[in-house]
């Protein structure tokens, strides 16, 4: 099988995209192709905005069928990425994330089928107002338009993001990482040849050069929103270059505060869950705060539980004096997103100090207080400036699925437009529809 570049409008037949992409593209030519992609995306977005829920669902089903039918082709292309990754010394964890198996391809297809079961976020009347002059003003949800997704190595983002954007009526321009370029190209090719989706609705940038993303981020005449998904370096680079609005999905430095009055047995369970159930995700905790009144009692208990889960503990001076197995935490540790079985622990005087700590060192993601003191709980919930604040539960629930959204495109650490888990409604905007019978001012 020898695909053309999906949706780009130029037809290049190549054995190996990588070689072409890294070496042979002229920057002026790239600029022209990107502009053409932008133009196509805008036209497609107008088509998508008009589509019924059923039409959009049919697209999603056809996309799912297409990637399942082309499973072998996708795996062959994925092998090229895995080989290149090995040659370039990617870690085994990264290679595993990159790898596409029959099961994983089926999971992507099933993900698309699941999106068909979710409510259409477009066309909802959010408010209606009749003004004294008789004007009827409706605020109605509409697609955002064209969304650019800039992401790193996992190829499943190609399918997940494309499916969610399409269901919300948006055209999408995808820009994946170079490690997964062959996998991403094969996936984009399959869904674009599923025979169902409008031309230009889902396009993948076929170059992994930095220049391509730089140019993409200035295309504010075509693109309405950029969502970067990846590490801190990627996100900072996107924010500093983009003239298009960006919703950041930044790191998760989540903190749990164990208050003086609290069920300590429950607290041990929740802390262990928040740290250990899946340490590599953004809603796992990185910092633990313990009220000084219960530190003597709680510190050894939680240390024992953490150590039995192989968690390395970094403590402040006081904690280290209570738990000999812990090593001293530096100032930088409080800012650190370990994404690993490491936890920094600090003893604090009260809930106000806990709040201050979180607002200083946290990343505005998810933070929790474990307490039976209602006043402290309310102070914590009100004063911690994060997307999601918990009392007596694990931070691991900050997730579109757990919030009942059905699916998520990510977890926003920004405050504008969308905060916390972003589902389909967060991929829409609104417009005002005003009906009159001759009103003038």
């Amino acid at each position: 099988m020898c695909p053309d570049f999906p949706g780009v409008g130029i037809h290049l037949y190549l054995d190996n995209y990588g070689a072409f992409m890294m070496a042979e593209i002229d920057l002026n030519e790239m600029e022209k192709v990107l502009q053409a992609m932008g133009e196509k995306a805008v036209i497609a977005s107008r088509e998508l905005a008009k589509m019924s829920t059923e039409e959009k669902n049919n697209c999603l089903l056809a996309m799912a069928d297409a990637i399942e039918a082309e499973c072998d082709y996708i795996k062959t292309e994925n092998q090229k990425d895995l080989k290149a990754g090995e040659a370039n010394g990617l870690s085994s964890a990264m290679l595993d994330r990159l790898k596409l198996t029959d099961d994983r391809i089926k999971a992507m297809a099933d993900g698309l089928r699941h999106v068909t079961t979710l409510n259409d976020p477009v066309g909802n009347i959010l408010t209606t107002l009749t003004r004294p002059n008789g004007l009827i003003i409706e605020k109605v949800s509409v697609p955002i338009g064209v969304i650019g997704i800039v992401y790193e190595s996992r190829p499943n983002v190609t399918i997940d993001a494309a499916g969610l954007c399409l269901k919300a009526g948006n055209a999408v321009i995808l820009r994946g990482g170079k490690e997964a370029i062959n996998s991403n190209m094969s996936l984009a090719h399959c869904i674009n040849h599923s025979g169902a989706i409008p031309e230009g609705a889902i396009q993948l940038i076929p170059w992994t050069d930095r220049e391509a993303v730089g140019k993409l981020l200035k295309m504010d005449n075509y693109i309405d929103l950029i969502i970067p998904r990846g590490g801190e370096g990627l996100i900072k680079a996107v924010v500093s270059q983009s003239t298009i609005p960006v919703i950041k999905h930044y790191k998760g430095i989540c903190t749990m505060f164990v208050d003086a009055q609290c069920d300590q047995k429950l607290a041990v369970d929740i802390v262990i869950n928040a740290k250990c159930q899946r340490p590599g995700v953004c809603n796992a905790i990185e910092n633990l705060l313990i009220h000084e009144d219960v530190a003597d009692e709680f510190a050894p208990k939680i240390a024992k539980a953490l150590l039995s889960e192989n968690v390395q503990i970094k403590g402040d001076e006081k904690f280290c004096s209570l738990v000999s197995e812990s090593i001293p935490a530096s100032e930088n540790d409080w800012y650190e997103e370990y994404l690993d079985l490491i936890l920094s622990v600090k003893i604090v005087k009260n809930v106000s100090e806990a709040v201050e700590f979180i607002n200083t060192y946290g990343s505005r993601h998810s933070d929790a207080i474990l307490t039976n003191n209602k006043k402290n709980a309310e102070q914590f919930l009100a004063e911690v400036d994060s997307s999601t604040v918990y009392v007596n539960a694990s931070t691991r629930f900050t997730d579109g699925g757990e919030f009942g959204m059905g699916a998520e495109i990510g977890i926003s650490t920004d405050k504008l437009h969308a905060r916390g888990p972003m589902g389909l409604p967060e991929l829409t905007t609104y417009k005002y529809i005003v009906r009159g019978n001759g009103q003038i001012r």
Copy 2:
């Protein structure tokens, strides 16, 4: 009277700020002061977020009293700006916008008092969800945090923006234009010495150098949102430099489409209102489209009415052939925001061509169809990609007051976070508050 710099934390006593600001500030020193302002704003924003509605309203009332009490001082400072403006050759229209009189100062104070009557947008529970595992998830409106307003010459923005930001619980950093610097400084001084507002809640940048705004726009560690208010040049400069999310209040290229089936008498009234009632504002129309089936009949009628209002008409070839008084429109005219008694007119084949025209040349602000054809109305409302779309009413209603918001900080032409008129609720974001009783994953 000899004020210090409001809220900055340094105390400089000067006869004339202008001289100091333009010449004597060292860039490193400026950077330090701006960072200190940012830090203060964040601390103030935490105080403001905790304030009750009554406390915030008391601040607003004290601010109103303060500017009325210091009316003479403000006028004296305003005179400096007017003198400098005259010397620098500002137009009489610009000088008029700059001028502060007793009545205008009272109007600003009354504006602040009016904001006290509006609903507090903070602390509203937007949705509540109980999950199968017993978690109760509330989505609650909260202040955004710190907002930077970058604006041009009209000094009333200083007071209006400060009042609205404060009522929504946000700290604000104001950066006005150099033409109004003495007026703005005097206003900021008065409200900061009203004895009511938290230190750092309302700060004005005391430098009008470009470097100051450049540095401000990179302070993403302190500032959550930038709202630029001014001309196209200002907005483009802000967008290209800012690493902070920006909500653009861009130009208004609004279009009205007169369909074949419509009450032509009503259409004349609405077109005249939308063009002539206040041609210098962003919701006035700049383009008129007429359905070809009624062009022969409607063109002379509307031309007569427009000419009697001294409107200069620029027409496409067909319109010019029907109306001898019109002059030919160039391609650039369709993109033009005249803000004046000038109107471009084009004859189109149908509603689809009208939609295409608006989505090509418009600025996504406000557009209207005048029709008795329900199908065409619905197509227009659905397909025009603008913040506000009208059927059978003047575009002049795109306004916070007319939408029942009570006040507006501007009209967003962006699609993210806020679209169309931005009132107090649009100056808030939300957070998720999750209450559990030990839930883990």
